[in-house]
Symmetry: C2
Subunit: 268 residues, 2 copies
Amino acid sequence: MRREITGFSNPTVKLLRSLRDKKHRKRERRFLAEGLRLLTDARESGRTPEMLVMASGREEHPLLTSLIETVERAGGEVVETTPDILSKITGKDNPQAVAGVFAEFDTALSTIDRSAAPIWLVAQALRDPGNLGTMLRTGDAVGAGGLILIDECADPFSVEAVRASMGAVFTQSIAQATWSEFLPWLRGPDGRSEGQLVAASLRDAVPYRGAPYQAPCFLLVGNESRGLPEEYEAACDLRVTMPMKGRADSLNAAIAGAVLAYEVLASL
Amino acid sequence: MRREITGFSNPTVKLLRSLRDKKHRKRERRFLAEGLRLLTDARESGRTPEMLVMASGREEHPLLTSLIETVERAGGEVVETTPDILSKITGKDNPQAVAGVFAEFDTALSTIDRSAAPIWLVAQALRDPGNLGTMLRTGDAVGAGGLILIDECADPFSVEAVRASMGAVFTQSIAQATWSEFLPWLRGPDGRSEGQLVAASLRDAVPYRGAPYQAPCFLLVGNESRGLPEEYEAACDLRVTMPMKGRADSLNAAIAGAVLAYEVLASL
């Protein structure tokens, strides 16, 4: 279905603008992804937006044509609007912008099939949406299955996280859980499920290079300023440490996860 | 010297607020760093702020006392102000905040002593100040000498970069140059200076693990969306490639630099 919107006060415009805000995103269970490349990644990963928004008379592009066809075939809506309204929605002054509205995915732990990949990233209380999106992007690069978010993390469906993920938000599995849900899930009903929990740590740790990693390997990184709680580290199967040659005693969380993930990738 | 400021229109308040803006920062050749920990890192690295700003009646803290002594001994100014004015300066609603004003460092290539460290990070047209600060932080962790910024990069003295560097802006050397200045400097007057230029690349590259790295090793990463210009890659001594197992063909720039830097650290 095609529709043209020319008024700022149109309810669809209000809805789209509201999706930049976490509270509204959670209520609507929808999120926004922007850019033809990102939307094409989504389409190729089998994720079709419910609604596509662009400026009327926007330049044609073969990828856009495919996208419009996919959305219309799936019963979604294609909305054309003015460049002014579009820039209010996207927050950018780009009349070539294309935005898509997606239904949030199910992020229950039960959606994770641990046997589907040798590496899984796990972030605890990660607060920066850019770090979160970067971890998704890194997960895609190392062939991880997805990202499991423990305790109160940034929203993986925020515009910043979606953008930083460079499309990996559509290809990586994403789950959200508390620690007390995650650990029993990881260990399984009989406490013997496969899955090695590894933390970057300074306590009782072995050098990260050449450590005995095993698939499926769950790489746990902690909060940007506080790191991991001590009892979380204690529950890990393996604690590894990275050289710190300078004054600081920690790396950026997404950096630590990536250096570790590439080491695991090389050793499995 | 101690001073108390109670008016929003005070010229010092205006100056401090203006330092959040690149144009003013460049004109004043000053920058702002916030937080007691960051300022203490600066002090311990021999960088003393010209001015220290805090709320009148702020809680005492031994690190703050040391900082105040250092600033006063160096002939700097200690400014006390109201919590309201302080939050206008720092952009945060934290009456415990402490901010310091520093003179920008000399970022000429000639300040770099390549023999001082085995690893140097080099970023080309890096646009994101968070990525830039994260690279400084990673450089500190791997024992790099510093970060060389090629062509038009984000400002290393922006509040975001300083914050993301977690103090490494004070410990890592920082240089800014164009490519046509950098390459002759690297090769030296007779074209035979020590220094291996390494790029993460997809063209004519060898696997990054086990590649023949040599100190001093200059690790070059490119712009977030365009990567490195082809001629820059061609000028490198070594091109290395990292596994990309997913849909995407690149990593976040700071991530690529970190994975590479840790590999070089392990192999040198």
